[in-house]
C-alpha cells in the first residue's frame, strides 16, 4: 500500500542546478512549514528528472524537523488501489479519514488521473479538506495540470491556487555535478574529462544519464587502464577516428568480445551478490524508519564501501531498538507524556533514552521531602522526651538498623511532627531521597494516582526513597487502599533495611480501624511516647522564641508564660505570639505585665505593679456568668486573613 520513503531520496542527495533550483527551494519551504506555504505544491517534470526524489526529500526533511508529523507518500496508482479496496470492503469513510489524519500527503504521478472522474472527485474533496485543516499536499506529474487530459477544472484551479512548478532538464554543469556525485557514491574513479564527456552526451534525462554512467563504470571494470574521454565518446558512438584502447590493442575484436562479455556478466553477478549487504541494510532502514526510529546508524553503513557482517550490525541495531522500547515502556509508566518522546526513537543514542528514563525515575515529582525548617538541634530536650530524641539520634546514625520502624506517639503539638521532619532532614543529609509526609497527604496522592491511572509510578516514587517517614499514621486507620499500600511499602522498606518513622496521635493499641497486619508491624519497631511538655520545656522553648523575636532574653516574661497552662509546645508558643502581637499593636515592649493583661484579662497595670498578680489558671469568671478560659476566647479578629493565619498556626 503506502510506500515508505526511500532513505536515499533526500534533499542532501539531490543535485541542485539552474533547472531545478526553484522547485527545490519551494520543496524545502514546504518541508520546513507544511500547510502554510504553497499548498498544494504541484511539481511537474518529464520522467527521470527527480520528481519522486524531490517528493520524498520533502517527506524526509519535514519529518526530520518534526518527527511526530504524519507523512504519507504514495503513487496515484496506490491511491486509486486503496480507494477501490476501501469501497469494495465498505470502508469508504475510513479511507477518507485515513488521509484526513495525514499532516503531509505526497502523491506521485497524478497524471494518471486522466479520465478517472471518481478519483478526481475524491482528490478534490481531499485537497479541500486538507487545505481547510492546514495540512500539506504535494503532487507530482509528468505534465502541468492543464495538460492532464480530462482533468476536472476545479482540480486544475485548486492546483493553480497553490504553486505549480516545473523541473527542467539539467544543464551541462548540473549533469557533470550529478555524474560526479554518483561516481563518488559508487567509488568509481575516472580520468579527467571522462565524466565531462558523459555529461556532454545528448542525454537530458537523469535516469538515462546514470545508465550511461553505469555503462562507463562497467567498461572501465573490464580493462586495466582507466577509460579515456575519447574511449567514452567511442563507447557512445559519438567519437571519431582511431581510439587508443589499450585493452583492445593486443586482442582480436572477436576474442575480446567473448571474454569481455563473460567478464561483464560475472562482474554484474559478483557486484549483485557481494552487495547483498546493501540490500539487507536498506531493507532494515525502510523497516525501522517506517516504525519511527532514527536510522542514521544504518545509513552510515551504506556509505561504507564494504560491510563484512551486515547481519550483526542490523542485529545490534535491533537490540538497541528493543532496549529503547523497554526503556520507553518503563518511562511511559512513570510519566505518560514520555510515551511519544523522541528520546526513545534513536537507537544510535540509547544513552539519551536511558538518561530520559533516569530523569523520569528520579521524577519530575520526587517524593515529598521533610521540611528543612525543622531541625534536630532546635528540639529542646528534657527528661520527658529524652528517650524519643535518643532513639531519633540513634536511627540517624545507623538508619534501618536499630529501631525500624520508630513510632512516635503523643498528643497534638507535643513535637512529633517536628521530630519526624528533623529525623528526615538528618537522614537526607546522610544521602538519598527521604519521603516525609502525612497520612492524609499519602492518601490524597494515592487517590490522584488512581485517577491518573499512574499507581505504579506513584509507588515507584516512594520505593526509590531511602527512608519513609509518615506523620499521623492514625489518620490512615479509616482507609482501605492506603493501608494496603502502606503495608506493601512497609514490607519493601523492611526487607531492604531502610528506615521508617511513623507518628501517631493515638496509641497504637487504640487504633481499632488500623489493620492488625499493619499495627503489629508498627509495634514491632520502637514505640516511644512523647508526653506533653513539662514547664521546663515550655520555659526553654518560650525563652528561645523570645530571644529569636526580641533579640534579647526576658526571663520574667518567659517564666510567666511557661507558668501558663499549655498542653503542648505549640500552645505555649501561641501564648508568646499573642503577647508579642499585642505589644506590637500597642507599640510597647512586651513584658510579663502585658502578658498577664493579655492572657488573664487583667486591667493594665502600672509600669511597675506594687503587687504581683496571683497566678491564674486562666479560668476567669466572666461578668455574664459561666466559666470560660479567656486564653481560649477570641476577642477580636482584625480581619479574615489574620484569622486564617491564626487557625493555621
Amino acid at each position: 500500500m503506502t510506500v515508505t520513503l526511500n532513505p536515499l531520496y533526500r534533499f542532501e542527495t539531490f543535485v541542485v542546478g539552474a533547472a531545478n533550483r526553484l522547485a527545490v527551494t519551494a520543496a524545502k519551504a514546504v518541508a520546513e512549514s507544511p500547510g502554510t506555504v504553497y499548498n498544494p505544491l504541484f511539481v511537474y517534470a518529464r520522467p527521470g528528472l527527480g520528481k519522486t526524489h524531490l517528493l520524498m526529500g520533502i517527506g524526509h526533511a519535514a519529518r526530520a524537523i518534526n518527527p511526530r508529523l504524519v507523512v504519507e507518500y504514495l503513487t496515484l496508482d496506490e491511491f486509486i488501489e486503496a480507494f477501490h479496496a476501501a469501497i469494495a470492503a465498505g470502508h469508504g469513510a475510513a479511507y477518507r479519514q485515513r488521509f484526513l489524519d495525514v499532516d503531509l500527503l505526497l502523491v506521485d504521478d497524478v497524471q494518471f488521473l486522466t479520465h478517472r472522474r471518481e478519483m478526481q472527485a475524491e482528490l478534490l474533496r481531499l485537497t479541500d479538506a486538507l487545505q481547510a485543516a492546514n495540512r500539506q499536499i504535494v503532487l507530482t506529474s509528468d505534465r502541468p495540470p492543464a495538460e492532464i487530459e480530462a482533468l476536472d477544472d476545479r482540480l486544475i484551479r485548486r492546483f493553480a491556487g497553490g504553486l505549480v512548478i516545473d523541473v527542467a532538464a539539467p544543464d551541462y554543469e548540473t549533469r557533470v555535478a550529478i555524474l560526479r556525485r554518483k561516481a563518488d557514491e559508487r567509488r568509481a574513479v575516472f580520468a579527467d574529462g571522462v565524466l565531462d564527456a558523459v555529461a556532454a552526451l545528448e542525454i537530458d534525462n537523469v535516469r538515462e544519464l546514470l545508465g550511461a554512467l553505469n555503462r562507463v563504470i562497467a567498461s572501465q571494470s573490464v580493462q586495466d587502464a582507466p577509460l579515456t574521454p575519447a574511449q567514452v565518446k567511442q563507447l557512445f558512438g559519438t567519437g571519431s577516428g582511431p581510439v587508443d584502447e589499450p585493452a583492445a590493442r593486443d586482442q582480436e575484436p572477436a576474442t575480446l568480445d567473448e571474454f569481455g562479455d563473460f567478464l561483464s556478466e560475472i562482474a554484474a553477478t559478483v557486484s549483485q551478490q557481494v552487495d547483498t549487504w546493501r540490500t539487507k541494510v536498506g531493507a532494515a532502514i525502510l523497516r525501522w524508519e517506517g516504525e519511527g526510529f532514527r536510522t542514521n546508524r544504518l545509513e552510515e553503513l551504506l556509505e561504507r564501501e564494504l560491510v563484512t557482517d551486515p547481519e550483526s550490525a542490523i542485529a545490534r541495531f535491533e537490540a538497541d531498538v528493543a532496549r529503547l522500547r523497554a526503556l520507553q515502556a518503563e518511562a511511559a509508566e512513570l510519566t505518560p507524556d514520555l510515551a511519544g518522546s523522541a528520546a526513545f526513537r534513536d537507537p544510535g543514542d540509547v544513552a539519551a533514552a536511558e538518561a530520559a528514563l533516569q530523569r523520569a525515575r528520579e521524577g519530575t515529582h520526587p517524593p515529598p521531602a521533610p521540611s528543612p525548617l525543622w531541625k534536630m538541634e532546635d528540639l529542646v530536650e528534657s527528661g520527658a522526651n529524652r528517650m524519643a530524641l535518643e532513639a531519633a539520634r540513634s536511627i540517624t546514625l545507623a538508619p534501618g538498623v536499630r529501631y525500624n520502624p520508630l513510632v512516635l506517639v503523643g498528643a497534638g503539638g507535643v513535637g512529633k511532627t517536628h521530630l519526624l521532619h528533623a529525623i528526615g532532614n538528618a537522614l537526607s543529609a546522610a544521602g538519598g531521597p527521604v519521603a516525609c509526609l502525612s497520612a492524609p497527604e499519602f492518601t490524597s496522592e494515592l487517590i490522584e494516582a488512581i485517577d491518573r491511572d499512574a499507581v505504579k509510578a506513584w509507588r515507584a516514587r516512594y520505593r526509590r526513597a531511602s527512608a519513609f517517614l509518615l506523620d499521623d499514621v492514625h489518620l490512615a486507620a479509616e482507609t482501605d487502599r492506603t493501608q494496603d499500600e502502606l503495608f506493601v511499602l512497609f514490607n519493601a522498606f523492611a526487607e531492604s533495611g531502610r528506615q521508617m518513622v511513623f507518628t501517631s496521635a493515638v496509641p497504637l493499641a487504640s487504633l481499632d480501624r488500623l489493620e492488625a497486619r499493619l499495627r503489629t508491624r508498627l509495634e514491632g519497631g520502637l514505640v516511644v511516647a512523647l508526653p506533653a511538655p513539662d514547664s521546663d520545656i515550655r520555659e526553654r522553648v518560650i525563652a528561645r522564641d523570645l530571644v529569636a523575636r526580641l533579640g534579647a532574653p526576658d526571663p520574667a516574661l518567659a517564666t510567666y508564660l511557661a507558668s501558663r497552662p499549655a498542653d503542648s509546645v505549640r500552645a505555649a508558643q501561641g501564648l508568646v505570639q499573642r503577647v508579642l502581637a499585642t505589644a506590637e499593636e500597642r507599640e510597647i515592649p512586651p513584658s510579663a505585665a502585658l502578658a498577664r493583661e493579655v492572657l488573664e484579662g487583667l486591667a493594665p497595670v502600672a509600669p511597675a505593679p506594687a503587687k504581683r498578680a496571683p497566678r491564674s489558671s486562666g479560668i476567669v469568671a466572666p461578668t455574664a456568668g459561666g466559666a470560660r478560659s479567656r486564653e481560649k476566647m477570641i476577642w477580636e479578629w482584625p480581619d479574615v486573613g489574620d484569622r486564617i493565619v491564626e487557625e493555621w498556626r
Binding site: R187, D261, E265, I266
Partner: protein, 200 residues
C-alpha cells in the same frame, strides 16, 4: 575453501571440469585460455601423456580483476577422465565450488557418461558433499558431430540431467558453448554467495 574472503577482499572460485575420458574437458580449458587476454591468465598447467591424455590434471588460473572492490580469481581444473586415475579426481574435487560435467554426446559413449557421473557422485559423497547441494552444470560436447552419431541435447538431458540443472550444447574445439558453460556455472557459484554458505 573460502569462496569469499572479506578480510583479504578476495573472491576465489574453484571450478572443476569433470567427465569421462576424451569428452573434451581439457579442450574447454584450452579454448578459454586462448581467449583470455594474456595479462589476465596465469600459466596453464597441463600434465599430459604423449598421446595428449591428461595424466594428472589441467589448471588454469584466471584473474578477473577487481570487481566491486574484490580481487576476483577463477581457478579452472580438469580431472583425468580415465577410470584408473580416481585418486587424482578425488584430490582435484576437494574444495570445488562448482562442477562442469562435460559429457561426450556420442551415442557410443553413453555408458561412459553414466559411469563418470556415478563416479562424480561417489567421489563427492566420499568427501561428505551431496551433489544436490553443489553447483553443477552439464555440457554436452561434440554436438557438431553428425546427428546419427550423437544424442541430441534433449536426449542427453534425459539420460544424465535428472535434476534438470542448466545444460549447454557445445563444440569445444571451435569454442561453441564453452564460455556459455563457464558463465553458467560461474553465476550459480557466485549466487551462492547470497546464501552465505561459503562466505568467510
Amino acid at each position: 575453501m573460502s569462496l569469499v574472503n572479506f578480510t583479504a577482499r578476495e573472491i576465489t572460485c574453484k571450478i572443476v571440469y569433470y567427465g569421462p575420458g576424451r569428452s573434451g574437458k581439457t579442450t574447454n580449458l584450452q579454448y578459454v585460455y586462448g581467449r583470455v587476454p594474456e595479462e589476465r591468465r596465469g600459466r596453464m598447467v597441463s600434465l599430459a601423456t604423449q598421446t595428449d591424455r591428461t595424466l594428472f590434471f589441467d589448471f588454469l588460473p584466471l584473474e578477473l580483476g577487481t570487481i566491486s572492490g574484490f580481487t576476483t580469481k577463477f581457478q579452472l581444473y580438469t580431472v583425468p577422465g580415465q577410470s584408473y586415475y580416481n585418486a587424482t579426481r578425488k584430490l582435484v574435487l576437494q574444495g570445488a565450488d562448482g562442477v562442469v560435467f562435460v559429457a561426450d554426446s556420442q551415442a557410443r559413449r553413453f555408458d561412459d557418461n553414466l559411469e563418470s557421473l556415478q563416479n562424480l557422485q561417489d567421489n563427492l559423497l566420499a568427501q561428505g558433499v551431496d551433489i544436490r547441494q553443489l553447483p553443477v552444470v552439464f555440457q554436452y560436447n561434440k554436438q557438431d558431430l553428425p546427428h546419427d552419431l550423437i544424442l541430441s541435447h534433449e536426449e542427453m538431458d534425459d539420460a544424465l540431467n535428472f535434476r534438470a540443472v542448466q545444460s549447454f550444447a557445445a563444440d569445444a574445439l571451435r569454442g561453441g558453448g564453452v564460455f556459455e558453460t563457464l558463465r553458467g556455472i560461474s553465476e550459480i557459484v557466485l549466487k551462492r554467495l547470497a546464501a552465505g554458505s561459503q562466505v568467510a
